[in-house]
């Protein structure tokens, strides 16, 4: 089981950052790797159990299922149903925590998954760097952090 963890600080209140990212169908509006997204079966994007199908700018196609969403904890957990990455049992959580000192946001993005042993280091680097940290960088630009 491989694990990835990335965290960052965003210079805006957690409630404001959460408003940007809670939309499970909203990745294209803030994450630089994502080109387009839709929710399958016309479900609401905050219905736990809904599936988002999205395309990366490099052409890759991914389907992910919303497992948990909490407006109280500012937290969203999802799994990968289908992807070109070669991972299994992939479950990730994106979570925000208020930083009272300066009214900023501590953002954490973590995942665990199974994969071929020889690909683990590359996947950990790519997911932690390009996907998670790349998302944080975009949020920092958006919120001026």
């Amino acid at each position: 089981m491989a694990e990835v963890y990335a965290s960052s600080v965003i210079a805006a209140p957690a409630g404001r950052v959460w408003a940007s990212i809670r939309d499970f169908n909203g990745l294209p509006s803030w994450h630089p790797l994502i080109a387009e997204s839709r929710i399958e079966a016309a479900a609401p994007a905050d219905q736990v159990g809904c599936v988002r199908a999205f395309r990366l700018k490099d052409g890759g196609f991914i389907r992910e299922k919303l497992l948990a969403l909490s407006d109280y904890d500012f937290s969203c957990t999802y799994s990968i149903l289908e992807s070109p990455m070669g991972v299994e049992n992939y479950v990730a959580t994106l979570k925000l925590t208020p930083i009272t000192d300066g009214d900023r946001t501590f953002a954490e993005w973590s995942a665990s998954f199974d994969c071929a042993a020889e690909r683990e280091a590359e996947l950990v680097t790519n997911i932690g760097g390009n996907v998670f940290q790349g998302g944080f960088e975009a949020l920092k630009r958006q919120f001026g952090g």
């Binding site: 990335a6 965290s7 960052s8 600080v9 000192d101 501590f106 950990v124 790519n126 390009n130 940290q133």
Partner: protein, 502 residues
Amino acid sequence: MQIQRSTVIDAPLDAVWAVLRDFNGHDRWHPAVATSRLEGGRRTDQVGCVRDFRLAGGERVREQLLSLSDRDHRFRYAIVESDIPLHDYVAEVALKPVTDGNRTFWRWSSHFRPPPGRERELRELVSQGVYEAGFAAIRALVERRSAPALRPALRPAAAPAPASAPAAAGDGALAGEAVRLDRYGGPEELHIVPVSAPRPGPGEVRLRQTAIGVNFIDVYCRTGYFDLLKPPGVPGMEAAGVVLDVGPGVRHLSTGQRVAYACPPVGAYATVRTMKADLLVPLPDGFSDQVAAAILLKGMTAAFLLHRVHKLQAGETLLVYAPAGGVGRLLCQWARHLGARVLGATSSPEKAAAARAAGAHEVILPGPESLEAQVKALTGGRGADVIYDAVGRDSFAHSLRALANCGHLVSYGQASGPVGNWDIGALASNSATVSRPNYGHYTDTPEKVAAITARLFSALAEGVITPEIGQRFPLAEAAAAHRALEGRRTLGATILLPGGPH
């Protein structure tokens, strides 16, 4: 009533946790705490222990540790008795790494029942007087420890390239130079070549090296006597420098920090290097990079020889071969400080004078009497309690005979050749113990390295041992450094400087 305060400390998580996890250590950093002691002889990290402390205002508080986790970097505690009416107070301190910039997120939270009418006063006392004051104190304590000089020079590797940039392998590699050995042989096989240090991967850091130690083991690697290096490859196992960037998962080092190492794998003869972070040692202020490169390997060797392989006691007599040499000189200085009687065995009056300067009480020179006879004469017929012998073939038999009964022979090198095969039955003649320590086995985990270097840096800071840099060569002239070392023309340590000698 619930209170929650959080902040970000600009220091690696391990540095913050090292201070906070000491439950009874709060009187050393928190401005509101005057004195604190642990009840009942318990340890500070023993779950269930009670700290009994006085605040700066004189109030007494007793708090019990309910849980402590080094995995989650979190502890909980409760007030069991207090002059301040914080009823049913339970609090939690939790740290998380901010991987973007290698900082630390810290949340301090609690709930309690205040008496009616005192809610606001107690809320302010806890949130500002305790939690926020604690944040400021820790920030002042740990943030100033990291060297800021090179911080803006390079973004940490964990911080990603801009989203538009490709993340292909090799992206972001840093150009430099290294001394490469293309095949086993003489010093002429060492050539300076351009190299590149890749961006650090998980658990790795990238260094700009400022001083590199030259050791006799590098010669053994060059000739092929040791197979630690398989050509083509870069020799060297000791260097100091500055962290340029850190890979994912590295929590004890940060960009701009000064570090040193003395460990395999080989590859130190280089201006830049990407390597595993776990055996790197943060350099305390006050130790120059050149001193670190000159003394780390020899000093760590002396430290584990005197404190781990044999736990030297005051009053013991020890015999050190080559007492004017690299490790031998440090053994003499350190053993004398520990209260031992120090005998040195060397080959010339000049080296004898150097040995005496290093702390040897007596020096034995070759003469009509054998070494063991001279040792016995100097010890009232007893012999030496412990002998540090890196000569090997030519000295081993003499060393065994020079031991006191139940003495300890530490054979840690073989400059004159292998010791050969011995019948251990012969050890019964004086109930001798023989050790053959391997540097790697005493320095192969971060915990061992931390313990040994803590001893070493404190001995250096107190002047118990002193560095001695005899020769400095530009990195490109590593071959000349090897010639000097093999020609026995060196005194003290030899180092290579990537920017040329200064």
